[in-house]
């Protein structure tokens, strides 16, 4: 993991001091709420329906056990004993007192964390594959590049007041677990024929009310040119992105308006002018940062562990958990464990301070003191020896964290919705809870197989409904909560936009509709065919007829 040096510490501490001064001026009335707003937003502090919300960055979703313990401490000391892990690999606290927020930021700074640029029209937390550096299907660990981008984008003098927020995601794996094609910039780490590392660069992806899948503007950008090329992309956007309408201000609208080829041309033209200036990190700096992400010294072990197989044969839930919640590590005999934060009937992504502390203790004992957060709002123990799975599962299960549903229908993404958010039109959490209860049969879930439901409580689509195999969008219809059903989206390497199937439903109706959709899939699928493949093969009509009847 990256460790701060004196410069990183100084910058983060200076930021805390600055924010303490701003809060102090606000509390004394020297700053109006209007003046304070942009300042607090730059530190991740939102004003929501009922209270302030603080969004803390977990850069590229990697954190240490000690950092997780600090997150737990903050939940207990300054909030109501829990936190919410988000689709951007961050954590949100829903009930902090304004006057406490400088102390919270200091607690974070002391363990090399911050809330910088988790909000505002700037470059946000860079996200990546939750299994980065640990998965078998990877060209290279993307996290050193994410850290280089984190530093470059922090307090950028030119790009801190963009037309709109700006999200960069990077993956180094064949399977895209970071949804890079749905980001303002997506980066895919690649090797060229000479074996050199570089990036495929995509721009203009995004969800919101206008979902767009990013387009490739460069097939192979050499590693050493990363930051200057990003600067060129950002300069074109900062100058030409629309500022007259916040719903048309994201880069996707600009790329769409000028065309990806023209965007590529303008980027290239600008990049040629700056690429030889000392904008890019020198090779020594890349080496320094990569050293922090050196693979842990894991012993090669056997993938056949009889104790695991025996317990799996005896205990269906453990067997399902091993099947669904573990991912093959690049070192034989090891796996990456997904800890589901999606208990049936629970709030997707919410974890209590006690749960966070347990996970931190497990990380110390079994995963090299390292943890990850996935964009699907789960926690990950990387680098786990397979033989330790029974002990880990027993501890997790006792704490309500043993749900064996990773990647299955109830592993839903849901935005906070109308329960917390001032933008929402409808509730998301109760719907997710009801779906969890309706599908609370693990044999049935296992039979249904991989299926991603994603729920947003408004058109801003924080719940990624556009990328759901089944997407649900909450809207307001004449004062009533109404839910639209979308099918066929994907956030993976085969990214696609989900399409609305037909008229919306009330809360009970939408859950019935999901049941019908699943029933159609079970009836139509061929051997081993997953939901999305079946939908793509048979098309929407048969689903439409089942849900709405023949007309």
């Amino acid at each position: 993991m990256y460790a701060y040096d004196k410069y990183d510490h100084a910058l983060v501490n200076a930021r805390v001091a600055e924010f303490r001064d701003q809060v102090d001026r606000r509390v004394k009335g020297e700053l109006t709420e209007e003046e304070f707003r942009p300042l607090r937003l730059m530190n991740g502090l939102y004003l929501q329906l009922h209270a302030y919300m603080l969004r803390v960055a977990v850069p590229y979703g990697t954190l240490s056990a000690d950092q997780m313990r600090t997150l737990a401490l903050i939940a207990r000391k300054y909030d109501k004993g829990y936190g919410h892990f988000t689709t951007r690999q961050n954590i949100q606290y829903n009930w902090p007192k304004l006057s406490d927020t400088p102390d919270i930021l200091q607690e974070l700074a002391d363990v090399e964390m911050h809330a910088i640029q988790t909000s505002g029209n700037c470059i946000r937390n860079v996200t990546t594959d939750q299994f980065a550096g640990a998965t078998a299907d990877e060209v290279a660990d993307p996290r050193p590049y994410a850290e280089l981008i984190r530093q470059w984008s922090s307090f950028h003098p030119e790009f801190s007041f963009l037309p709109r927020k700006f999200k960069i995601a990077i993956t180094g794996a064949d399977i895209d677990r970071a949804a890079v094609k749905w980001h303002d910039i997506g980066l895919v780490v690649k090797k060229n024929d000479a074996g050199e590392i570089g990036f495929e660069v995509l721009v203009g992806g995004g969800m919101g009310r206008t979902p767009v899948i990013a387009k490739t503007i460069r097939d192979f950008l050499p590693e050493a040119d990363l930051l200057s090329y990003l600067e060129a992309i950002l300069r074109v956007y900062n100058e030409q992105g629309r500022r007259d309408n916040k719903y048309k201000a994201r880069i996707k609208i600009l790329v769409d308006a000028m065309g990806a080829d023209e965007y590529a041309r303008q980027t290239e033209e600008e990049w040629q002018k700056i690429k030889d200036l000392p904008i890019d990190f020198p090779a020594e700096e890349a080496a320094r940062i990569k050293a922090f992400f050196a693979p842990p010294p894991l012993q090669v072990l056997s993938d056949d562990v009889p104790a695991v197989e025996e317990l799996a044969a005896k205990n269906f839930l453990f067997g399902a958990w091993v099947k669904n919640n573990t991912n093959q590590h690049k070192v034989p005999g090891h796996v990456n464990v997904t800890i589901s934060v999606k208990p049936h009937g629970g709030i997707p992504g919410d974890a209590t301070a006690e749960q966070m502390e347990l996970v931190a203790a497990l990380a110390d004992e079994y995963s090299q003191g390292e943890l990850r957060i996935s964009h699907e709002q789960n926690l990950i123990l990387p680098h786990v020896a397979k033989k330790d799975l029974p002990a880990i599962w027993a501890d997790l299960d006792e704490a309500g964290l043993g749900t064996p549903n990773a990647g299955l229908l109830t592993d839903m993404i849901a935005c906070p919705g109308l329960d917390y958010c001032s933008l929402a039109n409808a509730r998301s959490i109760p719907l997710a809870q009801e779906i969890g209860k309706r599908f609370d049969d693990f044999k049935r879930l296992q039979d249904i197989g991989p299926l991603k439901i994603k729920i947003s409580g408004c058109i801003n689509s924080c719940g990624h409904h556009h990328a759901g195999h089944i997407g649900i969008l909450g809207v307001d219809r004449k004062g009533e909560e109404n839910y639209q059903l979308l099918l066929g989206g994907s956030g993976a390497e085969d990214a696609s936009k989900a399409a609305i199937l037909g008229p919306g439903f009330d809360e009970n109706g939408i859950i019935d509709a999901v049941e019908k959709v699943v029933a159609v899939y079970l009836g139509e699928r061929t051997d081993g065919e997953e939901f999305l493949a079946t939908y793509r093969r048979v098309g929407p009509q048969v689903f439409k007829e089942a849900v709405y009847g023949t007309r």
């Binding site: 910058l11 470059w152 307090f155 030119e158 007041f161 100058e239 904008i279 320094r288």
Partner: protein, 169 residues
């Protein structure tokens, strides 16, 4: 209003020329770019130092033909969040090679002081009540993650340089 000097430049003392007003002989005047583009050589002969007032949506390339006629530039922010002003200043330094004073006007906020400095601004006009906050904000950070166009080299370089941070004049 107070003038905060970010770089220590000899700041210009000028008046903004009203529409249709002709400059007094040898007077330092700031004039909207659109008017400067229409003025002939006589205008520049009569006036003293002439500056261009730019909206944030100005294309930097429009300045190039006037570069040897103008002494300073004023970039007028309509709102503090209009970040085009930062790129425009960068362009003037980097692409046009403008060496004169660049001044920021409009509702910029103290927390932008270092961003303004590092984007290439020399001076910023602020309400008197905010002068102290602007000056304090300038001292908040002394190390930076990015190479910029004012001579600051990124920490990524400074970490490996024998002289530590190099700061250009």
């Amino acid at each position: 209003m107070a003038l905060v000097n970010l770089t220590g430049i000899q700041a210009g003392d000028f008046t903004v020329l009203a529409e249709d007003q002709t400059p007094a002989e040898a007077a330092a005047v700031a004039v909207p770019l659109s008017r400067l583009q229409d003025e002939g050589d006589d205008f520049f002969k009569v006036a003293g130092p002439v500056g261009a007032v730019l909206a944030t949506d100005t294309n930097y390339a429009d300045l190039a033909p006037l570069m040897n006629k103008i002494a300073f530039v004023v970039i007028d922010f309509p709102a503090f969040g209009d970040g085009r002003g930062f790129s425009l200043a960068v362009r003037l330094r980097k692409d046009v090679g403008f060496k004169g004073e660049i001044r920021a006007t409009g509702p910029v906020i103290p927390d932008q002081a270092l961003f303004l400095l590092r984007a290439g601004f020399d001076t910023v006009e602020v309400p008197d009540a905010r002068e102290a906050a602007f000056k304090a904000a300038l001292k908040r950070f002394d190390a930076f993650y990015q190479t910029d166009y004012t001579g600051q080299v990124s920490l990524a370089h400074a970490r490996h340089s024998k002289n530590q941070e190099r700061k250009a004049s």
